[in-house]
């Protein structure tokens, strides 16, 4: 059954996509150095298999998957491993990373096929090839794709949803991908349908991207049961649970995953990347990044090698303006502010948003006035007001009883709070505190 193409609650932040929505994707020259943190995705980080001084070609394995929920890491350019050590990670920590001095003399040519032809593979072989290629979700959360494509035997998947909402303000990578590479989205979807043995798929795109809707509709394969749906423009329309409600009118039970309601959700960029990986024969070593915000002079959408530093991206976008003040990885609703220009782009980095001093939020908070706006905003119907008050008193266990685990840190409560209480930050803190202690 088709859903109502919208979900309840949520917020309407300014879209601010006009900065880059019409800027075609451009490939950047290779920077002099790339930094590849071993932790690129959810699950366990990869294990380095190279040493300092090793010469690597583009696509060579730098790190191996460490367990099932992990993926290999590949060299995104030909060059020499110059260092293995700690490097500032986008999550704010120092984390193990491989530094790669890019060989300026290398043609960076496509190597002989590293990923097999997809047409010759059975479903299990396809999933394995996707895993080997290091594919993770490119919508931001960066969960290893092969895990989603390997549901347990007792779970029956009936529908694949392709997420083209891109509900975060500013970002246009998914948008441009759909406009410029719609066939890749469809090919990636076709491959995933084969992986899962699923006959039906739906593509959900927010209504504010008519050109993307048109491009995706115009290239729709005739032999597959795939439908395209224009969705209400509202944040967080692209959250898995919200998308499933919008398209299928199914509520993912609390504490469960989309697969428990028979659904696998994949981002359009992930679909396009799967297609590209099989087309070019190279693993996931580059991605499209929106570099935008009023803090850069020439915002744009760029294809860059994984590991490109903010410094090089900002330079490609014309440099920082005088009043640039804050640099955010991902969208402004959920993205993390970065403290240094040396921080590299990960596989899951959707965008680099540079905010000017005028764009940043005030840092002063007021006491909670119990206006209840956060309750009207929360898309999973939590009581952020209560959770926030508990968090300020460090009453973590009571937060757990009040369903903190269901919070996906979408930021709607913090966006709407007139007292500017950093609710998502408090919830993140509480989640971390609860993780540290043994489950009761």
């Amino acid at each position: 059954m088709l859903g109502r193409l919208r979900f309840r609650h949520g917020v309407h932040p300014p879209e601010l996509k006009e900065l880059t929505a019409r800027v075609p994707i451009r490939r950047l020259p290779f920077p002099a150095e790339l930094v590849l943190p071993l932790r690129q995705h959810g699950g366990k980080p990869a294990r380095a298999v190279v040493r300092v001084g090793d010469r690597v070609e583009r696509g060579d394995t730098l790190g191996e998957a460490d367990g099932f929920v992990s993926t290999p890491l590949h060299a995104s350019a030909a060059g020499t491993v110059s260092d293995l050590g700690l490097w500032p990670h986008p999550d704010g920590s120092y984390a193990p990373a491989i530094r790669l001095a890019v060989d300026p003399a290398s043609p960076q040519a496509l190597r002989p096929r590293l990923v097999p032809e997809w047409t010759a593979l059975e479903p299990a072989g396809l999933v394995e090839a996707i895993r080997q290629a290091g594919v993770v979700g490119l919508g931001g959360a960066a969960f290893p794709t092969h895990v989603k494509l390997s549901p347990p035997k007792d779970v029956k998947i009936d529908t694949i949803l392709i997420n083209g909402c891109e509900c975060e303000p500013y970002l246009t990578t998914d948008h441009r991908t759909m406009v410029e590479y719609p066939e890749r989205v469809h090919l990636g979807l076709r491959i995933m349908m084969r992986c899962l043995g699923v006959g039906r798929a739906m593509i959900g795109i927010e209504r504010n991207k008519p050109d993307a809707l048109e491009a995706i509709r115009a290239t729709l394969p005739k032999d597959l049961d795939v439908t395209v749906h224009a969705l209400e423009v509202k944040y967080p329309q692209g959250a898995e649970k919200m998308l499933i409600e919008s398209l299928l009118d199914r509520e993912v039970p609390s504490g469960k995953l989309p697969m428990h309601v028979g659904v696998v959700v994949q981002n359009v960029a992930s679909a396009a990347t799967i297609a590209e990986v099989f087309e070019t024969g190279l693993p996931l070593i580059e991605r499209i990044v929106t570099v935008t915000g009023r803090g850069v002079r020439r915002p744009g959408n760029f294809i860059v090698p994984v590991g490109t530093k903010i410094r090089d991206l900002v330079q490609a976008a014309g440099g920082l303006t005088e009043d640039a003040r804050e640099i955010v990885f991902g969208g402004p609703m959920m993205g993390a502010a970065q403290a240094s220009l040396d921080i590299p782009v990960l596989k899951g980095t959707t965008g680099v948003v540079v905010l000017t001093a005028a764009d940043t939020k005030p840092t002063v908070s007021y006491p909670c006035i119990r206006c209840g706006h956060c309750l009207d905003a929360c898309p999973v119907f939590l009581n952020p007001q209560l959770l926030g008050q508990l968090a300020l008193k460090e009453r973590w266990d009571e937060m757990a009883t009040n369903h903190l685990a269901d919070c996906m840190l979408c930021g709607c409560c913090g966006y709407t709070c007139p007292s500017n209480i950093p609710l998502p930050q408090l919830f993140q803190l509480a989640k971390a505190a609860l993780r540290k202690r043994p489950a009761a």
Partner: protein, 336 residues
């Protein structure tokens, strides 16, 4: 490229643009027309009484509150609202004491903004009513063109000195007349405000408009006045149909007394009303029912103040009972 000084804050990095002071000052601005209208009806006593309550509230916030909290505007709202619940002829020192009580005992003692259980202005008014019952129930008549300039009572009486008998015409409020003399008041007088009553009790229409502005901007939860009006109108229509002689009609009940001011400005106080929408429906309806019970069967002519204070006390329970249904569950989320 040299590294600029980068700001690192937590997400979300964009906001809806509202802030607590902005909400508060908007409420203050929306009360200005109400004060002006009261001045139109009751003359120069109005700015004096409202001003005294305001100075009491702001002074208490400045003296006992945390540094900088005056700027959030909430003490100004309390002062204005308290002033609007008082009769025009009230001695100024009483209004001042009421304002100081509202903020010091009604708000700061609980921990300041956001922490108080009861509406501070109404708590101040309840304190005054208990302390100075006669002064609080002496209602001057609205002025005429010739008498507009006259004070409406002994505004400048010294503290605890017995007030001189003012040569002002006073009279019972429409509710008092209805309750104790069974005298109705023309509906149009109630709507426009050309009757006796406290300063803000009078122009129901204007209060509805000013409060409506706040509702449109989502600075008050419209469900509270909606359910309050619905409860009063529904119940009173039923009673009036059963016994027209004993019970006045619903419009009289809606537009008389402090019901409009209470419904639009007191009950909707963000801090002392429920956070859940269902809670707000119940809260508003509860106030409506209590208002009628007090007005019709209680010893007082007017019951809005106590109705709201009683429901204020139930807000923590309403919040607990009306927790939202968690996404992906059918059970009610357990409260604390």
């Amino acid at each position: 490229m040299s590294a600029p000084p980068l700001l690192v804050t937590a997400s979300p990095h964009v906001g809806a643009g509202d802030s607590t002071p902005k909400i508060m000052w908007n409420v203050v601005a929306s009360l200005v027309p109400v004060v002006l209208a009261a001045t139109w009806f009751f003359g120069p006593s109005v700015p004096l009484v409202v001003g005294a309550a305001l100075v009491g509230a702001v002074g208490a916030e400045r003296a006992f509150g945390r540094r900088g909290t005056l700027a959030d505007g909430s003490a100004v709202i309390t002062g204005l609202l308290l002033g609007l619940t008082l009769p025009a002829g009230l001695p100024l020192w009483m209004a001042f004491v009421g304002g100081a009580f509202s903020i010091a005992i009604g708000k700061l003692i609980f921990g300041g903004l956001g922490q108080n259980v009861f509406n501070p202005a109404l708590l101040g008014r309840a304190f005054l009513q208990a302390s100075f019952p006669v002064a609080l129930t002496t209602w001057p008549l609205p002025g005429t063109a010739e008498t507009w300039w006259a004070l409406r009572g002994d505004n400048f009486a010294l503290p605890f000195a017995s007030a001189r008998v003012a040569d002002t015409l006073t009279g019972a409020t429409p509710l008092g007349r209805m309750k104790f003399e069974h005298q109705p008041t023309a509906l149009w007088d109630l709507v426009l405000g050309t009757t006796t009553g406290s300063l803000g009790e009078t122009s129901a229409l204007l209060i509805l408009l000013c409060g409506g502005y706040l509702a449109l901007r989502n600075y008050l939860n419209w469900r509270i006045p909606a359910s309050l009006f619905a409860a009063v109108a529904g119940l009173e229509t039923l009673l009036h149909a059963l016994a027209p002689a004993r019970f006045p009609d619903a419009l009289f009940m809606l537009f008389s007394g402090g019901l409009m001011l209470g419904a639009m400005y007191m009950a909707t106080d963000l801090v002392t009303s429920p956070v859940t929408n269902l809670g707000c429906w119940i809260f508003g309806a509860g106030i409506g029912v209590l208002v009628l019970v007090i007005r019709l069967w209680g010893g007082l002519a007017e019951g809005v103040m106590y109705a709201i204070l009683i429901m204020n006390a139930l807000v923590p329970f309403l919040n607990r009972w009306t927790q939202p249904r968690l996404f992906g569950t059918t059970r009610i989320a357990p409260g604390r």
